[in-house]
Symmetry: C2
Subunit: 144 residues, 2 copies
């Protein structure tokens, strides 16, 4: 039996490695250079090089030259990379609540005046995810 | 230099492996038994056994006995596991948009009457994530 056709699996094929997501976190925090990303994640240079190359190949990060002589590059988010920001934030909040012991290590404030906590809602009706019924129309490419 | 203290990293320590997330997907779809999870993910028995054990140890899944003789178990979501459902849904939508070629393999309909697409909003003001300013109050346990 073949595994399901699945966009979660496909997404994990691109970003589903620990160091990939932690590298993305650093770029989102404005730490765009290899040495900064390596230091703040604790990834080895070899692994980080491979992960960053993959993220660039799949269009999640782009490499931009910021110095000509010697040539030096930094990593910036593409649209696909920016679209991961809310997902990483939610992963952080999940970790705060269910894994990390003690207070949340990282806290953001939103300009509405509160500590930023997020929720997932239906884009159409605005109700929180899990409110109402969800019906499978198609699963793994197979109509239900 | 030590890696940042970070709930994203902590979360990935529990669920940041491909087969863990795909196993969770199956349980969320109601495929709670080992053989179903193995078949639908394509994970090897050894790896899946280790991943499921870890998810149970960390309280993301619970093991429930559904047959006494012979003893048989199935996996159910805990509160921590249920809290991952919107995150996995968003990961799926990200994969649909940026990775999967062709139409979305899996489609859900919401009881509000539309194909379910989600967004992340601020729980306080309801504005979409990325609207307004986000200010770091504390980063990796260090006040800013």
């Amino acid at each position: 039996m073949a595994a399901r056709e699945c966009s979660i699996a496909n997404a994990l094929g691109v970003i589903g490695e620990r160091w990939s997501l932690l590298a993305l976190r650093e770029v989102m925090l404005g730490r765009r250079r290899f040495a900064q990303i390596a230091a703040n994640t604790g990834a080895s240079r070899d692994i980080l090089t491979a992960r960053l190359r993959k993220l660039v190949e799949h269009g999640v990060l782009a490499k931009e030259q910021y110095e000509l002589h010697p040539p030096r590059y930094e990593y910036v988010l593409t649209d696909a990379g920016r679209a991961l920001q809310p997902i990483l934030h939610q992963l952080m909040e999940w970790g705060d609540k269910y894994v990390t012991e003690g207070p949340a290590p990282t806290v953001w404030e939103h300009s509405c005046g509160t500590e930023l906590h997020t929720e997932t809602v239906c884009r159409h009706c605005g109700e929180p995810f899990g409110t109402g019924e969800m019906t499978l129309v198609r699963l793994g490419g197979v109509p239900r």
